[in-house]
C-alpha cells in the first residue's frame, strides 16, 4: 500500500462572475471583482493585425513611445504621475495587438484610467523620443539577436510562415531605421481606437464602479480603427532541418513547429492533453526521457501558441553540442511513439488533473485572471470558456487524445531548426535527417 495520502474531495472554485458592458465608443469593458490585495489589474488590448510586415517596426516604436509623453506631460512627468498612484504600466506589441497592462492601488483606479485616456488620445510620439527609442531599439535588437534562442525562433518563424507577419518575432533592423515619427503618429491615429478594443479590470473594485470610472475617464477616446487587411496564415510546407551555424556554441538550440487547433475547435481539449503528455509538463515523456533519464538538456518544452489567425505547436530544447543528434533522435522517437501508439489511461488522468488544477491556480490571482481573460477574449473566446473548459477536459477519452496525437504530433508534419556549432553537429545530424545549411 502506498504511503502517499489520497486526495480529499475537491473544493469547487467560487463561480466566476464576469460582467461586461460596451461603452458608447465601442470599447468592450470586462470586469471581475476579486478582492484580496487592494489593487486593480488592467489590461487594454487594441487590435493591430496587418498584412504588411513593415507595420511591425512602426508598431513596436509606437509601443516604445506611447508612454514617452503627452501634450501636457513630458516623459518623466507622466512616469511620475503613474508611479504616484501606486501604479505600473507597460506596453506590449505583437503581430495581433498592442496591449497596455498594469496594476494600480484600488482607490486610484479612476485617476489611472484618466492618465491612460490622455495617453491614448494625446501621446506625442515626439521626434526626439522616437529618435532616442529608435537607436535604443537597434541596440536592444542586437543584444536579442546575440542569443541562440532568438536566432532559432526567428529561423523557425520564417520556416513556418515565410513572409507572413506571423513569421516575425522581432522587427527588422532596416524597418526600425526607416520608421518616422509621422508614420508612427499616423499609425496611432488609424489603429489606436476604442471600437474593437477590449479593457479588462480585475481586482478590488465592483464592476459597476469599474464601468463608471472607465466610461468617465475614457469618454474622450473615440472612433473606429481602420486596419489594413490581414493575410490568412499560410499552410506550413515541410522542408529539411535548417542548420544555422553558431561557431563555438556549447549547446544546440533545437526548435520544431507545426500547426495546431485553436481553442474554439471541438478537438482542442484532446490536443491540449496530448501536448502535455508529449512535452507540455515536467512529467511528460519527452522531459522524462531526455532530461531525467539521459541528461541531454536542462529542460525541453512543447506548447501551443494561440494567435488571432491560428495556433501553432512549438517544441524547444537546448541540448549539449555533443549529444545534438542523439537528442534529435529521442525527440523523433517520442513524436513517432505518441503519433503511432495509444496513450495510457494513467497518462491521461495525470495530465487531465494537471490541466484543470493549473488553470484554477493561474486564474486564482488578480493578474493571472486579468491576463487570461484578455488573452481569451482577444482571440474571440468568451469568458465562459473558463468555467466550461474543465468540464470538457473531464470528458476527453484515451481514443480522442491518441487520435489528436496521431494527427498533430506526427514527426513528418514538423519543420525543424538547429542553431549550433555546425562543424561539430552537421555530420551526426545528417545521419538521421535531411539537413539544409543556412546561407546567412
Amino acid at each position: 500500500m502506498s504511503a502517499v495520502p489520497a486526495l480529499t474531495a475537491p473544493v469547487r472554485p467560487r463561480k466566476l462572475s464576469v460582467s461586461e458592458t460596451v461603452l458608447d465608443s465601442g470599447l468592450r469593458v470586462i470586469a471581475v471583482r476579486r478582492p484580496g490585495v487592494p489593487l486593480v489589474e488592467i489590461r487594454l488590448r487594441v487590435p493591430m493585425i496587418s498584412g504588411r510586415t513593415a507595420q511591425a517596426a512602426q508598431a513596436v516604436l509606437l509601443g516604445e513611445t506611447l508612454l514617452a509623453g503627452t501634450k501636457r506631460l513630458d516623459r518623466a512627468a507622466l512616469a511620475g504621475a503613474i508611479a504616484s498612484l501606486g501604479a505600473d504600466l507597460s506596453v506590449g506589441v505583437d503581430a495581433d495587438r498592442l496591449s497596455i497592462g498594469g496594476s494600480v492601488l484600488a482607490p486610484n483606479l479612476p485617476a489611472l484610467l484618466s492618465l491612460i485616456s490622455e495617453i491614448l488620445t494625446d501621446a506625442s510620439h515626439a521626434k526626439s523620443e522616437v529618435d532616442g527609442e529608435r537607436s535604443r531599439m537597434l541596440e536592444r535588437l542586437s543584444i536579442a539577436r546575440s542569443q541562440a534562442g532568438v536566432v532559432a525562433r526567428e529561423a523557425l518563424g520564417r520556416r513556418m510562415y515565410g513572409t507572413h507577419p506571423y513569421a516575425l518575432d522581432l522587427p527588422d533592423d532596416s524597418d526600425i531605421a526607416a520608421a518616422t515619427p509621422a508614420q508612427i503618429r499616423s499609425l496611432h491615429s488609424r489603429l489606436i481606437r476604442p471600437a474593437g478594443a477590449i479593457l479588462v479590470l480585475v481586482g478590488d473594485v465592483t464592476p459597476s464602479r469599474g464601468f463608471t470610472a472607465a466610461a468617465k475617464a475614457l469618454a474622450g477616446w473615440q472612433g473606429a480603427s481602420q486596419p489594413s487587411r490581414a493575410l490568412p496564415l499560410p499552410a506550413i510546407q515541410t522542408a529539411p532541418l535548417l542548420l544555422v551555424d553558431r561557431p563555438g556554441s556549447v549547446q544546440s538550440s533545437l526548435r520544431m513547429g507545426s500547426s495546431a487547433l485553436t481553442r474554439l475547435d471541438a478537438g482542442y481539449p484532446a490536443l491540449q492533453l496530448a501536448n502535455m503528455i508529449f512535452g507540455g509538463y515536467f512529467s511528460s515523456r519527452w522531459n522524462e526521457n531526455i532530461r531525467e533519464d539521459k541528461g541531454y538538456t536542462y529542460g525541453p518544452h512543447s506548447h501551443i501558441d494561440h494567435g488571432v489567425l491560428g495556433s501553432s505547436l512549438l517544441l524547444d530544447a537546448d541540448v549539449a553540442t555533443d549529444v545534438t543528434a542523439p537528442a534529435l533522435l529521442e525527440t523523433l522517437y517520442e513524436l513517432g511513439r505518441i503519433s503511432s501508439l495509444p496513450v495510457t489511461e494513467a497518462e491521461l488522468d495525470a495530465v487531465r488533473q494537471y490541466a484543470i488544477g493549473t488553470l484554477a491556480l493561474s486564474t486564482a490571482t488578480q493578474a493571472g485572471l486579468a491576463s487570461t481573460l484578455s488573452g481569451l477574449i482577444g482571440v474571440g473566446v468568451g469568458p465562459e470558456w473558463l468555467a466550461e473548459h474543465p468540464r470538457r477536459l473531464a470528458k476527453v477519452t484515451v481514443d480522442e487524445v491518441s487520435a489528436a496525437a496521431a494527427t498533430y504530433f506526427a514527426p513528418s508534419r514538423f519543420v525543424s531548426v538547429v542553431v549550433g556549432d555546425s562543424a561539430t553537429v552537421r555530420t551526426p545530424l545528417e545521419r538521421i535527417i535531411d539537413v539544409e545549411r543556412s546561407s546567412s
Partner: protein, 434 residues
C-alpha cells in the same frame, strides 16, 4: 488624486514549533481552493565547501530525485497529477522548495515535503544524471548566453574576499563533476535538519487541521542539531576595485558596480532607505539614472539598480550588495557613465530628494509588494523568507508602514554610502558581432 493613506492587506498568521525544531508559519485564506507550501532550509551558496562550488544548487536538484517512500520521478508525478506545480531555488543564504496545489491535495503535499526532509534518495545514478542536467542549465543560462550570469557570478568575485562570498554559486564543472554521494549525505545531515528549516503553508485550509497534518508527517523526522551559521560579514571597502570579464557572445559592453552592504537585518530602517534610493535612482522613466543616461545623453541602452544578488532586497543577511548595472553602446563610454552615476548619487547625498519624489517611490514600492502577495505561492515564500531571515513573518505586512516612516535624511545617508571607494566595478568586454 492619490489617497494619503495606503490600504494595507490583512492576513492571519499562526506560528508553531515542532519538538524536532521545525518552525511553522500558517497563513490561512479561504478565498480560493488553492494552497501553497514552502520549505526553506537555512543553507545556501555561502555555505558550500571549498572545492565544491555549485554544490548547494546541485543538492537542490537531488532533493527532487526520490525520497524515503518515493522512487525517482514520483515526486514530480504526484504533484502534477494532483493538479499542482513545484520548483525549488538556491539563494546565497537559503534554499527553498515549494508547491502550489488545489486544496484537496493538502495532506499529500505535506507528506511529499516531509518525506524528503526525512530522507532524500541519493544514488550514484541520480547524481550523475543531475550533474549532467545542471551542466546544461549552466550552459543555457550562462555559457551559451550573452551576459549570462552577469553580474551575479562575476561581481562577487571582485567585490568580496572570502571564498563564501566571492565564489561562483552556479559552480565550476570540475567541482560539480567531483561531487560524490558521500558529499551529499554529509551536506544533508548537516544542513537539512528540521531545526534548520522553516515550513510555511498559505491558502485554503483550516489551521487546526493543517497543524495536525504537519505534526503527523513532519513530527517523525528526527531532531538533529541546528548548525551554527558562520559570520560571513566583510569590512567596508576603502578603495575602489576594478575587474573585467570577457563575453564571446555579447555584442555590446556592460558594466556592474557593486557596493558592500552590511547587516540589512540588524538595521532594517537604513536598509529600507537603500531600497527606496534604488528606486529613486533607477526605477522607471521618472528615475534619475533613466532621465540622465537613457533619455538625456543616451550613453546607456538600459540601467538598473537593486539590492540583493538576485534583485530581492530581503533575501540576504550580512553581507548583501547594492548593484548598479548597465549595457552601453560606446566601448569608450565607461568613464563618462561612471562620472554621471556618481554625480547623480552625490546629488541625492548632498541635497536629498525632490518634492514628491519620496512619496512617489514608496507608494509604488508598496503597491508592488502587494502585487507579489496576491498569488498564494508569493505569500507562502515571502512569509517563509521573513520568518527565516528576519525571524518574523509578520514583518512582511509591516513593510509598507515602515516605508512611510523613512525620512529624507535616511535617503541621504544611504546615498552617501555609495562612495566610489566602497565599490567594485566590473566591466564586461564584448567579443560578439558589431
Amino acid at each position: 488624486m492619490p489617497r494619503a493613506t495606503l490600504p494595507v492587506p490583512v492576513y492571519e498568521l499562526h506560528h508553531l514549533v515542532l519538538p524536532n525544531g521545525l518552525r511553522v508559519v500558517l497563513a490561512p485564506d479561504r478565498s480560493a481552493p488553492v494552497v501553497g507550501i514552502g520549505v526553506l532550509y537555512d543553507v545556501g551558496i555561502r555555505s558550500e565547501p571549498e572545492g565544491r562550488t555549485g554544490f548547494a544548487h546541485l543538492f537542490e536538484h537531488l532533493m527532487f530525485q526520490g525520497s524515503a517512500n518515493l522512487e525517482k520521478l514520483e515526486h514530480f508525478r504526484y504533484v502534477q497529477s494532483s493538479g499542482g506545480t513545484f520548483n525549488g531555488s538556491t539563494h546565497f543564504d537559503y534554499t527553498n522548495y515549494f508547491e502550489a496545489m488545489p486544496s484537496n491535495a493538502l495532506e499529500r503535499v505535506i507528506f511529499l515535503e516531509a518525506d524528503r526532509m526525512l530522507a532524500p534518495r541519493i544514488t550514484e545514478e541520480n547524481l550523475a544524471n543531475q550533474i549532467a542536467v545542471v551542466k546544461e542549465e549552466i550552459r543555457v543560462n550562462v555559457l551559451n548566453r550573452p551576459y549570462g550570469g552577469f553580474p551575479w557570478i562575476e561581481l562577487p568575485a571582485v567585490l568580496f574576499d572570502t571564498f563564501a562570498n566571492s565564489h561562483n554559486g552556479y559552480g565550476g564543472f570540475v567541482d560539480l563533476e567531483s561531487a560524490t554521494v558521500a558529499d551529499a549525505a554529509g551536506f544533508f545531515d548537516r544542513y537539512y535538519a528540521p531545526a534548520n528549516a522553516v515550513l510555511c503553508l498559505a491558502g485554503d485550509f483550516d489551521p487546526d487541521n493543517a497543524q495536525a497534518l504537519i505534526e503527523k508527517h513532519f513530527g517523525p523526522v528526527p531532531r538533529r542539531d541546528r548548525p551554527v551559521r558562520p559570520d560571513f560579514s566583510e569590512p567596508a571597502l576603502q578603495q575602489e576595485r576594478r575587474g573585467e570579464t570577457h563575453d564571446a557572445h555579447a555584442p555590446m559592453p556592460a558594466v556592474a558596480l557593486g557596493y558592500r552592504i552590511a547587516d540589512p537585518v540588524g538595521d532594517l530602517d537604513s536598509h529600507l532607505a537603500r531600497v527606496l534610493l534604488s528606486e529613486i535612482l533607477a526605477d522607471g522613466d521618472a528615475s534619475r539614472f533613466q532621465r540622465r543616461l537613457v533619455q538625456g545623453d543616451r550613453s546607456v541602452t538600459d540601467i538598473g539598480a537593486y539590492l540583493g544578488e538576485f534583485g530581492d532586497p530581503f533575501d540576504e543577511r550580512d553581507p548583501t550588495t547594492f548593484t548598479i548595472s548597465a549595457h552601453y553602446p560606446d566601448r569608450d563610454g565607461l568613464p563618462g557613465i561612471l562620472a554621471a552615476i556618481d554625480q547623480e548619487i552625490t546629488a541625492v547625498a548632498d541635497s536629498g530628494t525632490l518634492p514628491g519624489e519620496l512619496d512617489r517611490v514608496r507608494t509604488r514600492l508598496a503597491s508592488q509588494m502587494y502585487r507579489q502577495l496576491d498569488p498564494v505561492l508569493g505569500r507562502t515564500l515571502s512569509f517563509a523568507k521573513f520568518e527565516l531571515i528576519y525571524g518574523r513573518a509578520e514583518l512582511l505586512l509591516e513593510l509598507s508602514t515602515r516605508l512611510q516612516a523613512v525620512t529624507d535624511d535616511q535617503i541621504r545617508t544611504a546615498a552617501a554610502e555609495l562612495a566610489p571607494s566602497h565599490r567594485a566595478v566590473v566591466e564586461l568586454i564584448p567579443g560578439g558581432a558589431r
